[in-house]
């Protein structure tokens, strides 16, 4: 993997070159306190390139004696906006020229002068609770009013605060305050052994459990140079696709809740329940916890279980297609989803949007195909792409992908090779770093790790698909009526837990 070391003062210029006017995109950006290693803070930028090698990493260094600031990358790409606010919160490094430096992950209860991801911040430091005002953005003007919603919502959903600026029924601006359930996992795992920290990685997000377990395990394996068996690779594909299946089926049902189509909701929930039961049969956990582990797989898929999966796939496939037909031929339904909540292709590119949302706005990217991991290079599948960028497009991408997942599952079950389940992770040279990735049901999910002494975690950074995509919701919503927000939001179906790690 190409890694270029630069001085932090040159970051903006180097990022502009790597970004290449939007031919490449920013995958992630994060800082690391490496003062104990070489006296520097480091800011890493991972870019994905239009051709091989797929990734390029910029490592910008800032000596501890220098002013703690760097030129913001936001003028190069708006995708950098959240990352830099987070770096500012957690490390106190200031991006000069950033247009909006409100706190992101640490809310107004947190004092400005504590930066918890710095190595000299002890986790047991008592931090006073301060209460400042958090300024929400809104539009001024005659007749314009604000609608605040959340953080506790009406449904069984995660917390977030939304502030709509309304001109009548139309939303003209949306600002979101998120990170209410920020748990500080990246700090909590520091110093834990790789295998203990794994349980927190696996629990970042329930809906994306397998994807997080995969990205974490692959990061560890790539740093350690551990080669896992082919059987484990196939088992991982099976679990990852079961995860996509229960998410996509459940999300399509939930989308129907966004417009009150009860038959769609019930059928989606019923099919999802059947899939959750299958998950529990396969892994012992309804969210697929416990099979994917660093070094391979902790559980096998026996012939019996494989038969049960195949049987269930047959039943689900017919059932699911019938439910989809109910949506496709329902004009009242189509009327609500077509042309609602459009995310223009260019906006998706500017924000480096990933996954379902990208593929619904005409961008063909999928890490399973573009940078194959586990056994995806041996799988034959299509990556559906729609161009209208609306709620409907995101729905149909999910629908098509569900069918593709079933196809992948059948191939993986049929071709399951023999082999050991799990290999040992050898001792890793301290301060080696690397990353792993997977395509979660929501899109690319990247985990970066630096290992410390005795196979412990020195620094862990997680960029889930939802982190990349949340800012896009604020672009897609304005121009729509406020009752369509739940629908638009559900069509992106982003996790809060995934960003609140």
């Amino acid at each position: 993997m190409e890694q270029e070391k630069i001085w932090a003062g040159d970051l903006q210029a180097a990022a502009a070159k790597a970004y290449d006017n939007g031919r490449n995109s920013l995958v992630a950006m994060f800082a690391n306190d490496e003062r104990q290693i070489d006296g520097h803070f480091a800011i890493y930028c991972i870019f994905s390139l239009a051709q091989t090698p797929y990734f390029k990493i910029l490592k910008a260094q800032l000596h501890e004696s220098e002013p703690l600031e760097f030129p913001s990358v936001v003028p190069v790409t708006s995708a950098a906006a959240w990352y830099e606010r987070e770096i500012h919160d957690l490390f106190g490094l200031k991006p000069i020229g950033h247009p909006d430096l409100r706190p992101l992950v640490l809310h107004e209860n947190w004092p400005h002068d504590h930066h918890p991801l710095c190595k000299d911040f002890d986790i047991h430091t008592p931090v006073p609770t301060v209460s400042e005002e958090y300024k929400m953005e809104y539009v001024h003007g005659e007749g314009v009013f604000e609608v605040p919603v959340g953080p506790i919502h009406a449904g069984i959903i995660e917390p977030g605060h939304f502030r709509f600026s309304q001109a009548g029924e139309n939303t003209i601006h949306l600002d979101a305050k998120l990170f209410f359930t920020h748990r500080g996992i990246e700090k909590a795992v520091e110093g834990l052994t790789i295998d203990k920290a794994f349980y927190q990685a696996e629990r970042i997000c329930g809906a994306c459990t397998a994807s997080h377990a995969l990205s974490y395990s692959q990061a560890v394996e790539s740093i350690a140079g551990a080669v896992i068996s082919n059987r484990a690779r196939y088992l991982r594909v099976i679990v990852a696709e079961l995860e996509r299946l229960h998410n996509h089926v459940g999300d399509i049902g939930n989308l129907c809740a966004g417009l009150g189509f009860a038959v769609g909701v019930s059928n989606g929930a019923r099919l999802k329940e059947e899939l959750m039961r299958l998950n529990e049969l396969v892994t012992g956990n309804r969210f697929l916890r416990g099979l994917i582990v660093p070094g391979g797989a902790a559980l096998d898929i026996t012939t019996e279980i494989a038969h049960e999966i195949s049987r269930m796939l047959r039943a689900i496939e017919t059932d699911f297609i019938e439910v989809l037909d109910l949506l496709r031929e329902n004009d009242a339904f189509l009327d609500r989803v077509n042309t609602t909540g459009i995310l223009p292709r260019q906006a998706a590119l500017d924000l480096s949007v990933v996954g379902v949302a990208a593929r619904a706005s005409g961008i063909s990217k999928d890490m399973r195909r573009d940078v194959p991991y586990a056994a995806y290079q041996n799988m034959n599948f299509k990556v559906p792409v729609y161009t209208s960028g609306d709620v409907a497009a995101r729905l149909w991408v999910r629908a098509d992908e569900t069918i593709q997942s079933i196809r992948i599952l059948r191939q993986a079950l049929a071709g399951l090779p023999s082999g050991t389940l799990r290999v040992e992770i050898p001792a890793i040279k301290p301060y080696s770093s690397g990353f792993g990735w997977s395509e979660s049901p929501r899109g690319g999910n990247v985990h970066w790790l630096m290992i410390g002494e005795g196979n412990t975690i020195y620094r862990y950074f997680v960029r889930s698909a939802s982190y990349a995509n949340w800012p896009a919701v604020a672009v897609a919503d304005p121009g729509n009526i406020i009752p369509d927000f739940p629908l638009i939001n559900k069509s992106f179906e982003l996790c809060y837990a995934c960003i609140d790690r």
Partner: protein, 241 residues
């Protein structure tokens, strides 16, 4: 037309609490044999949530903290720790215990027995506990068959189901929701995060288990608790098992 035929062909799928059992691979609660184990500490050292204490050579697993990962089974050389497949692990506390006095307990049950309304609060979960709560609304568990339902506002709620290790950023919202709920009210801590608070270890962003902030009446262990485990907890609280 196809809408109707889909509804009719699907038929009734609703089940009662014990209609299906957990599959073989579901681990459930861990239990250690009664004999003296020699206290090698392998299990307590390996447990990612600190759920195991060894006292006088006896292994004790704290269900509230346990995430059913099975590491302790693997590490125990004496093979004393076994998984039981048990998921009905809810326990009562606060105003539902004997010590709180029969009057109060009876009153709560009299008021809530036939119709109880629940508000959900995610105070820092991974969302799996919350998805399992949502699953109670699916046509298979159909929570409404027990006269229990989720409501959009704490003002209409009798019970708060709280998930997650309480985060700093959600503390205020949790307290305000609790205050907004009319009395008599119950609080259920759902899952290892809410009940034990140790799932994500120590962090600057976490305040810990729910009972550190508001009084808890029902604890439901699990990571996440299966929908049937939640249902069991609800019916246990109402003395309707």
């Amino acid at each position: 037309m196809s809408l109707l035929s889909k509804i009719i062909n699907t038929g009734v799928v609703t089940e009662k609490l014990d209609a299906t059992s957990a599959p073989h691979r579901f681990r459930g609660a861990m239990r250690a044999g009664k004999q003296d184990c020699g206290a090698c500490m392998a299990c307590s050292e390996t447990c990612p949530t600190g759920a195991i204490v060894i006292q006088n050579g006896r292994v004790q697993v704290n269900d509230k903290d346990c995430i059913f990962c099975g590491r302790c089974i693997e590490r125990c050389e004496a093979q004393l720790i076994k998984n039981t497949g048990q998921y009905k692990l809810a326990t009562l506390s606060g105003s539902l215990t004997e010590t709180a006095g029969n009057e109060l307990r009876k009153k709560i049950r009299r008021v809530l027995n036939r119709s109880m309304h629940i508000r959900h609060v995610d105070a820092g979960s991974c969302n799996a506990c919350d998805f399992e709560m949502a699953a109670l609304n699916n046509p298979i568990y159909d929570l409404q068959q027990y006269g229990i339902d989720f409501v959009p506002s704490p003002r209409h709620a009798d019970l708060l189901m709280v998930t997650g290790v309480v985060t700093r950023n959600l503390t205020q919202a949790l307290q305000m929701t609790y205050e907004a709920t009319p009395t008599p009210k119950l609080v259920m801590a759902v899952g290892a995060c809410a009940a034990g608070g140790r799932t994500f270890g120590d962090s600057y962003a976490i305040r810990g288990s729910v009972d550190k902030l508001v009084p808890v009446d029902i604890y439901v262990p699990g990571c996440p608790p299966r929908p049937q485990a939640l249902l069991y907890g609800l019916l246990l609280a109402l003395d309707r098992l």
